[in-house]
Amino acid sequence: MSREVILEADNLVKYYPIRAGVLRRTIGQVKALDGVSFKLYKGETLGIVGESGCGKSTLGRMLMRLEEPTAGTLTFDGVDVYTQKGAAMRRLRRDIQIVFQDPYTSLNPRKTVGDIVGEPFEIHRDVVPKGGRRRRVQELLDLVGLNPEHINRYPHQFSGGQRQRIGIARGLALNPKVIICDEPVSALDVSVQAQVVNLLEKLQSEFGLAYVFIAHDLSVVRHISDRVGVMYLGTMVELGDEEQIYSRPTHPYTQALLSAVPVPDPTLRGRREQIVLAGDVPSPANPPSGCRFHTRCWKAQQKCVTDVPLLINRPDGRGAHDSACHFAEARVVV
């Protein structure tokens, strides 16, 4: 696999102001995303995992520039995304597309499938000549495993999995290089999840797409990802190859997360070590000092309260990968 960087996030920060009172004064900030950096290589899948509220979806929206950043830069193929305007930005949007979580709200209920999948061509009129659009939409439907004759149907006439395929067809229409998948399968049945994940993998190998695959289901992420990033409270705590994260996690949060994954083997029941974290996730409006995980970490020491651990290469037993823990140490949990 070529190791050419296609998308690079550098220290992305997103704070949402908390306003109160008649004058809407800003009385605080929700630190939804606080300094996230990573590189996405051509044709690879980067999984992003973390529990609810850790900033996964905010990250996805930032990568699409559906939100303006508080700070940080995003570079796509050498172009700074956040400084683009007008036509240049529109041109850039062709290359980065998104597949949403909820197949029931991501399709306009009053449009036919043909209109929904064809909308990209209405906005970017030079991609496909007018006469060929309908045919192209039918090709796309065929490509994602839907009957091309259903082009005149409405979204409510499809099942959840089929609707997600429609969303994928829309995302594919402009031949993007990167697709952000914001929990694309978490609203689907397990059997349908597998179909959609397999479809995504097939499309990736066919078109050389790079995915940022945001999810909270660790096994789905393991299945599809080449590399995995683990997020906690707006920061990336560990980043490495799928093998490194799942077999030799060094960050205590990753270890706790992995120990919660159910193992389909009844004989292991009760013999597996489970790490149960104490307390709740702190509020992102007032995150803990130093290492954000120190309030719940069994390894926490004074250093963790004062010093912010950097996401840097730390040894994991057999090699090294990025981890943001002062006391990074590999531990087999799964």
Binding site: S106, R110, L143, Y154
Partner: protein, 315 residues
């Protein structure tokens, strides 16, 4: 679902398409599907025919009657319906049938244009406020609140007294004043409704998806927000149409809306509702009221049919 999902193995040969059927060949959109649906709806045809009849009545009343609505014979005052005068005579001895036919013009002009005015202005302001949010929303909403606080009748009296009409004022100017007065006081109602619908539609992922595709705000509003937030506004507007015709009648009764010799259903109804008259000559009240009710009913039915046709889930 009719067909089970087959994980079709689509090889590189994407050209191997299933032959498109005739139905799939013609491109269809919400509006063409809605029209196809309307054509099959008997309520649509009933309301459309009624509205067409009333519109022709408003434009060419002489097609329906050859009697002069201004001719009055006090000898016939308050006579009951008969073969010569199907709807009887009113208090001045006018032919009620002729006056009801001729009254359609003012009532329909006022009702339809006041409704259109509130619909256009209200929807526009509602969409702008709901979509843009922030200070523009605050400004438009407070502006709406100001007009909303003024009661329809009181405000109407105020406006029409400030810009009075006399016998010399051309007919259309008088009608225009009433329309403007009702429209100015009525738009915040629609704007509020539209704003709340827009706020409901806006956070949906399909709006975000359109933004992610690079759609312009105009495109997002016209093709995503408007079709999904129109239903409530259509229903309320058609109901309001009747209310505006009634308000015109009230203003006329107070002597500041349309003035005699203008003819309108509102004027006829208020004239016929005098004490004692309802019992002595009920036909004077009955016939203009029936026409008014039929008009309102026709528009409400049309609004319902259009709303249902625009919702693919009801098809």
């Amino acid at each position: 679902m009719t067909e089970p999902l087959t994980a079709q193995e689509v090889s590189g040969a994407a050209g191997a398409l299933v032959p498109a059927t005739r139905a799939a060949d013609e491109g269809r959109s919400l509006w063409s599907d809605a029209w196809a649906d309307l054509r099959r709806n008997p309520f649509f045809w009933v309301s459309a025919v009624l509205i067409a009849v009333f519109l022709v009545m408003a434009a060419f009343p002489q097609l329906f009657t050859s009697t002069d609505p201004y001719f009055a014979d006090l000898a016939h005052a308050r006579e009951k319906p008969s073969a010569e005068a199907w709807f009887g005579y009113d208090g001045q001895g006018h032919d009620v049938y002729a006056r009801t036919i001729y009254g359609a013009r003012s009532s329909i002009l006022v009702g339809v244009f006041a409704t259109l005015f509130t619909l256009v202005i209200g929807s526009l302001f509602g969409i702008l406020a709901g979509y843009s949010g922030g200070s523009l929303d605050a400004l438009l909403s407070r502006l709406g609140d100001i007009f909303f606080a003024i009661p329809l009748l009181l405000g109407g009296i105020l406006i029409l007294y400030t810009f009075p009409s006399d016998l010399e004022t051309p007919y259309l100017v008088v009608v225009g004043k009433v329309v403007l007065a009702l429209g100015l006081l009525g738009w915040p109602n629609i704007a509020r409704l539209m704003r709340s619908s827009v706020l409901q539609v806006k956070p949906n992922d399909y709006v975000q998806a359109a933004r992610a595709l690079g759609a312009s705000p105009g495109r997002i509003i016209l093709s995503h927000i408007l079709p999904n937030s129109l239903a409530a506004v259509i229903v309320v507007s058609t109901i309001n149409l009747g209310a505006y015709i009634a308000a015109e009648a009230t203003l006329s009764y107070l002597g500041i809306g349309l003035q005699p010799p203008a003819i309108s259903w509102g004027l006829a109804i208020s004239e016929a509702s005098g004490i004692g008259l309802i019992r002595a000559a009920p036909h004077m009240l009955l016939f203009p009221s029936i026409f008014l009710s039929l008009t309102v009913l026709a528009f409400i039915m049309l609004g319902d049919a259009v709303r249902d046709a625009l919702d693919p889930k009801l098809r």
